[in-house]
Symmetry: C2
Subunit: 681 residues, 2 copies
């Protein structure tokens, strides 16, 4: 394992590079790969049995002939030659390699799939690390290394934002978009088919890379979701990660043709990314902007960070405010002393309750900004001003304010291109991000807030009292399953399993009427349909009639009765826990009833999870207001619902033999909940 | 009225301009306003009683002294002096003016509000047109006119996209964003407090402006919504309009401080804009991009236009496909002959079913694009390729394809800035829009599709059979109200209003049991609570008992019985029609039941509306699948529901005396619907 980690670093930050398939013919890929290495300071070894030197580098007939183990090998040979070439690299003690060719599993052909499988086994066995196949490669600006065929990478400026993309094309797009914002890229990595090295590995490397301060992650399919989740949860504690998952709509068929991977559930990817502390965005432009902004600095972990908005023009302020609120980001009211201080700096009649609108900005801009940032409720400031040098010079005012606060300051402006660019460059040198529109400013401010609240949630310990409860056995009857659930801390109706009528009568007397009487028998799967359920039994005569009916059911094996208290009416929810093939144990909550089910209004998280996450799930339901007492109904006990979510998650995480468990309905009351029925698979 | 229209044109496209408050002191606004007019070719008249010439223009002591009626007057005087100045302009026969000063209704002060009211009356009385107050002004690049204080407007290139913004700052931002995309602006108009001239007026002018091919519209509050809607519906038939409404979240308090206007319902604004054929976007960047792209050409009216997607890199293709599908835009399967033709142009194993993925693009790019565009199902093509001149030169390939199809072609690319810019410039000259990211490409393609389907919907005639039905009178009883509804074509349960027991018995015999028996009396508002409703009456004995009970109700006035057939169970909806103070008659549909109500899952349109719009409302409900037979329930009669929506809308539009009418519930069946209860206000 430590080999694999060491080799990961040798691949991405090599001291030496070899090109297998190097060529002296400029039209050949083997020439272009070598030429792209021009900026790399370490030794470069062309491997070509028929050449002496190529592009000034001495050529070798084989990797073995180099005489020392090369860190990184670029394989510029056809797919069919790759397995042998990688075997040679392994034998020569090389660290890792990049296979740019396609022709593997993404083609859907048996040969391609078999070759890819061979590569996978080779890496797993040897510790050799492989990027690709079917990738444009990667670049590491910190060491001037371009191990990538794509043109123009030399134009991307060096900086502290790393890009990891499943697709080589998106790696390039995101990197150029970072560059367009005036920031720079440390490493840009295209994963391709990800036969060995996947997004989790790339994150692992980048979290240690001293040149990287923020990471932009593009995800299509995720085959090892649980591993990615666990890695991300570690990495985001050190560095902010912004993620762009693809596949909101059905794009599966085309996606498979791309990297041979399934695209998976979008909702689950988003849930896992957020839960691991990543900021989830919708577009490559937001991906680049949020990562670039976060590279300038994060808000410390906060449950719900507050953003201060300062604008020179109200129209833009309205947009920033609208967007922040739509994202659920707090724009808190300022403290009275802040209002007094800002009020003294601005003309009367300006709106200063946050947003702070300076009207036409003037010399007080820096002081107003500093006063806003100083407010206790404010964790970062988003400032907007049209480019108007006669009124305010942001390249002077913003750094002046920044010197007076450790809180992140984000800026947005628009105006003549050359002038705005000069302003943004000057601000970048002072550690201030500049956005090109009010919405983009709001989006990056929201990203800082999401990053901070993600970190706060990650720091919340899982609920302490969840401990391993009873186990579930195949063929358990309803009563046994409910008792097992109860042992996991999920409240169930009081009930007694009875073998005889006298036992049933005794049970009835010990419970509060009305009760239900149900048949317990392995022979009956659907009790209600079989006439095995009698509800609303209020007295002993009714009980006797119910037992008569249950005794008449034709059964071969043993027959027991479940006498169970009827649950009062309440709000019905569904809580389910499912083991996902990629992400492992997950838990989902939604409201019961046809309408809410048809609306697919559910929230999902990976399990185990904290009580805080469970509360966020409830808050995230569109129908959340029903929990708070809609139209005169009483509010239900959210804490009790959240505890059931946590416990069902803990149960699934602890018991590999359970594939799926669903409580339907979970009835919620002003105090407490009851699991009325549970299905275990 | 014709004066008002002529003066609108004199204001925005003047032949002469005067500056009231012109100054020779460079630090004064009166100097800057004059200086900004440097590019205007017509006569410019500084008005200043104490100057001979300013900036080379002969100065005049008053507007009257100019000796001819000036078209446009810029008022660069304090708020308090504005009313007198405008009176003078009116007296001098001027066409229109701009008041840039603030200090009016937006301050909330009684003086400011009173002055604004004076200006409004002055304009209404005289036909003089006024932009502002409290606006940065406007510019008309076609005649080199900058009637605007904001700096840098001279850097915005001239082009064919017009911008209309409530806020002067957003006017500038959107105009610069259009410029950044390589396109140019014809006119940029900031409305400010919009005391006289509002968005509808600006649209009216721009629809006639020969230099404008597409319009970008930014909206905060809308005080005369119905007028805006009617104007838009006319304008979008001639030119595409892209709209950015603000106020998704609650930003009311800050908004009022900005232009003194209420922000209004976001949903209603969006519904009205779409229904009038505008494309609604979420951000200033999308506003600029969609308008710039539409200026290159529209898709002809189509119910559901199909987009062809051509990509050089699958990763970007996946994003474009995902975004288009998420927007509900069709990416249709190609015809077999198209697949054959494209298959012959590309290497095997590439995905060509739309998206068409060329793999690394090559010389066949233009031919593939042309073949894709030639497919009958395709109305526009969105093409993406990384900047890679060695593989494909878009500035040659795309125009080659464009020459072979009248359908719009949109392009997107990313790469080194200078090179990408040169490509975009070359393409722009050939009538092809270039987007800077895959999502932006998808967004503008979706905008073209939305524009075309908006035009198709606008062309659908309102349902022919809706004709004026019965009128509603105050104090109508339930039966009369239902009969009036029935006269408007809304099905109601069969029922008979009876004065006596024999009449009731005859009614019972004429109807299908079971029936309901209800009291009809102006004295009883809440029938059910008063014991005035008896349900499920299956036989004559039960009817007699019910009538006994109804006869016992203590009433002073006359007493009638409603004998009505019971409606079978079905899917319950709510259809309501409300008169909005700004937008006039509106109609709303949603599913019944607590859960769907709590989820606020409703769709709204302005009335009257076509049957097609009513169907779109149903399709737009998140719970739409419940209509199609969810979990074994039968699908309901959408056509019948849509007809009720149309008729309720027609009813409200035709009867000014009805403020609000709600059918709750409307019960929907596999065939037909029944309005079970209706509330009229």
């Amino acid at each position: 394992m430590s080999d694999r980690i060491a080799n990961l670093k040798r691949l991405f930050a090599p001291e030496s590079v070899a090109v297998v398939g190097a060529s002296a013919a400029p039209e050949k890929a083997g020439y272009q790969a070598l030429a792209a290495l021009a900026g790399f300071a370490g030794p470069v070894y062309p491997i070509n049995p028929r050449a002496q030197t190529i592009l000034g580098h001495r050529a070798y007939p084989s990797l073995g002939a180099v005489g020392r183990p090369v860190d990184l090998v670029l394989f510029v040979v056809p797919a069919a030659a790759c397995v042998a070439a990688v075997e040679e690299a392994v034998a020569a003690g090389c660290g890792g390699g990049v296979i740019m060719s396609g022709g593997f599993a993404e083609t859907g052909s048996p040969e391609g799939t078999a070759m890819q499988e061979r590569l996978r086994e080779l890496c797993a066995r040897s510790g050799f690390r492989l990027l690709g196949p079917n990738t444009a490669g990667f670049f590491n600006k910190g060491i001037g290394l371009i191990a990538n065929f794509a043109p123009g990478i030399e134009h991307i400026r060096r900086g502290d934002v790393a890009v990891v993309a499943q697709s080589g094309g998106i790696n390039l797009i995101a990197s150029f978009l970072v560059d367009r914002l005036g920031s720079g890229v440390s490493c840009g990595i295209g994963l391709g088919n990800a036969v060995d090295l996947d997004a989790a590995d790339a994150l692992e490397f980048l979290s240690e890379d001293p040149g990287t301060r923020a990471i932009a992650l593009h995800l299509e399919g995720v085959t090892q979701g649980r591993r990615l989740y666990q890695t991300l949860a570690r990495v985001t504690r050190r560095k902010p990660v912004v993620a762009l998952p693809i596949g909101r709509d059905d794009v599966g068929e085309f996606a498979r043709s791309h990297t041979g991977n399934l695209i998976g559930s979008y909702e689950l990817k988003v849930a896992a990314l957020r839960q691991a502390g990543a900021v989830v965005v919708d577009t490559t432009e937001d991906l680049a902007a949020a990562a670039a902004a976060l590279a300038f600095g994060r808000i410390p972990p906060r449950r719900a960070p507050g953003i201060g908005v300062l604008v020179g023009q109200a129209g833009a302020g309205l947009i920033v405010l609208d967007r922040l609120k739509s994202c659920g980001v707090r724009v808190p009211t300022l403290a009275p002393e802040t209002l007094t201080r800002i009020g003294g700096l601005l003309p009367p009649m300006t709106y200063i309750r946050n947003p702070v609108d300076t009207g036409r900005p003037g010399p007080s801009f820096a002081d107003v900004l500093a006063a806003l940032a100083a407010d206790e409720a404010i964790d970062a400031v988003a400032a907007w001003a049209i480019h108007e040098p006669a009124a305010v010079r942001p390249e002077e005012a913003l750094p002046a304010a920044r010197a007076r606060t450790p809180k992140p300051i984000l800026f947005g402006t628009m105006g003549p291109e050359a002038e705005v660019r000069a302003t943004a460059e000057a601000l970048r040198a002072q550690g201030i991000f500049t956005a090109p529109s009010p919405e983009r400013l709001a989006r990056v401010a929201a990203a800082l807030a999401e990053d901070a609240s993600g970190q706060w949630r990650l720091a919340q310990a899982p609920e302490a009292e969840v401990t391993a409860g009873a186990r579930f056995a195949p063929g358990m009857d309803e009563h046994a399953a409910k008792q097992a659930l109860a042992a996991w801390g999920v409240p169930v109706p009081r009930g007694v399993s009875c073998a005889t009528r006298p036992e049933a009568l005794a049970a009835f007397r010990s419970l509060s009427a009305p009760v239900a009487a149900k048949i317990l028998s392995a022979e009956i799967a659907h009790k209600t349909e079989a006439g095995g359920v009698h509800l609303g039994i209020a007295d002993e005569a009714a009980l006797a009639r119910a037992l008569d009916a249950l005794e008449r059911l034709p059964l071969e094996g043993p027959r027991r009765f479940l006498i169970e208290e009827m649950a009062p009416a309440g709000l019905e929810l569904i809580v389910g826990a499912v083991r996902d093939p990629s992400f492992g144990p997950t838990v989902t909550v939604g409201l019961g009833g046809t309408a809410t089910e048809a609306l697919r209004d559910t929230a999902t998280r990976l399990a185990p999870l904290s009580l805080v996450e469970a509360h966020e799930m409830l808050a995230g339901l569109r129908a959340a207001r029903l929990l708070d007492g809609w139209r005169g109904a009483p509010a239900v006990d959210r804490e009790a619902v959240a505890r059931v979510i946590v416990r069902l998650g803990a149960l699934l995480a602890a018991m590999p033999e359970v594939r799926e468990i669903e409580i339907n309905p979970l009835r919620a009351y002003p105090r407490g909940v009851l699991a009325l029925d549970a299905l275990v698979a």
